[in-house]
Symmetry: C2
Subunit: 227 residues, 2 copies
Amino acid sequence: MILKARFGGYDGKGTRWARTPEEFDALRNEWEPGGWLAEELVPFRRELAVMVARSANETRCFPTMETVQVNHVCDLVFPADADASEAAIAAVEAVEGFGLFGVELFELPDGSFQINEIAPRPHNTGHYTLDWGGPSQFEVHVRLAMGLPLPELTGSEAAMANLLAPGPADWRAGLRAALAAEPSAHVHWYGKAELKPGRKVGHINASGPGCRERVVRAREAFWAGAR
Amino acid sequence: MILKARFGGYDGKGTRWARTPEEFDALRNEWEPGGWLAEELVPFRRELAVMVARSANETRCFPTMETVQVNHVCDLVFPADADASEAAIAAVEAVEGFGLFGVELFELPDGSFQINEIAPRPHNTGHYTLDWGGPSQFEVHVRLAMGLPLPELTGSEAAMANLLAPGPADWRAGLRAALAAEPSAHVHWYGKAELKPGRKVGHINASGPGCRERVVRAREAFWAGAR
């Protein structure tokens, strides 16, 4: 089973595995404010994400992306060769949601989808839209809040790699190394005061053919340079 | 002839026509600091512009754009069906220039090019690169200044319309009108304290098919809404 803290869960925090009855019993005694949710493990093939924009007049989706998580934290986002927009829209409609939503889904072995998370806001899996040449998720969020019509949610293929801090590091040297190694990559650095281990401190976008390989290479150069 | 003030010319300021000997004689008596340059009128077919990026190691061009001037001021920029990059690079090499250059050219009736202006900096005709999904001219400018390698200067087709103030106007209402009329347009408002008539106070970008028509429609909606 997967156990999830009922409150305060974010970016993988508050999520625990129970693979055996013994592990489950051990977690019983761990206190979490509000208690736990216990969910059956889903044997998914891969994880997908869709940003859904819904107003009173129209519903539109950004492209379906594939996401890779490391230690329950989003690590990499790139275009999926699947279309989960119908399931994502159904999820937002089911909760009578209006605005911008990040919907995360499991793709099951039979090709069907199961909703994993509905985030009522701009979302990490939509950060690639800052550099894809089409509308950004933040622009769409503001348009929805202001009651303005929505643009076509199309752009170039794009990919994003998160920057998770390894601990204190020379991020200026890392930035320079990434910009030198991958001229087509865009580094978004959040300016956090402290690089706590595992903290999301930025992300790297690239668009066009080979974007996935390029963001991964740029990230490797970043942390190699920041050492 | 065209008379150009030797100093302080910018955005069409300091440029005068002399169509007849009488007009020329009249301008003789108009004082300009540093005097005038008198140039033969060029019967061009259209005006083109190319952003050239040149470092010690490499030279790259953004796509060739067609530009439309109104009263000597750039009004509209959109993709040209011509390639003037060779002439633009030759112009930058001729002045031994390194860095980012906006090169404006006349296309003559025989299809050849004549250099009109070399601007050693990011340039109005390159503002479309803020929203085309490829590298922006500002990013390339910084890369050149820092000695970093250059990315491929490719992106989506894109167009730009300048916002020239008609005089005092309700720009907030204009902004809202433009965003409502053309959801795919990106309005860049410069926040100038005063909307002097004819002053460049912003520009509008759009990318993808129909981008030229869309920036023009967005601009019409902007000034209609700002009235």
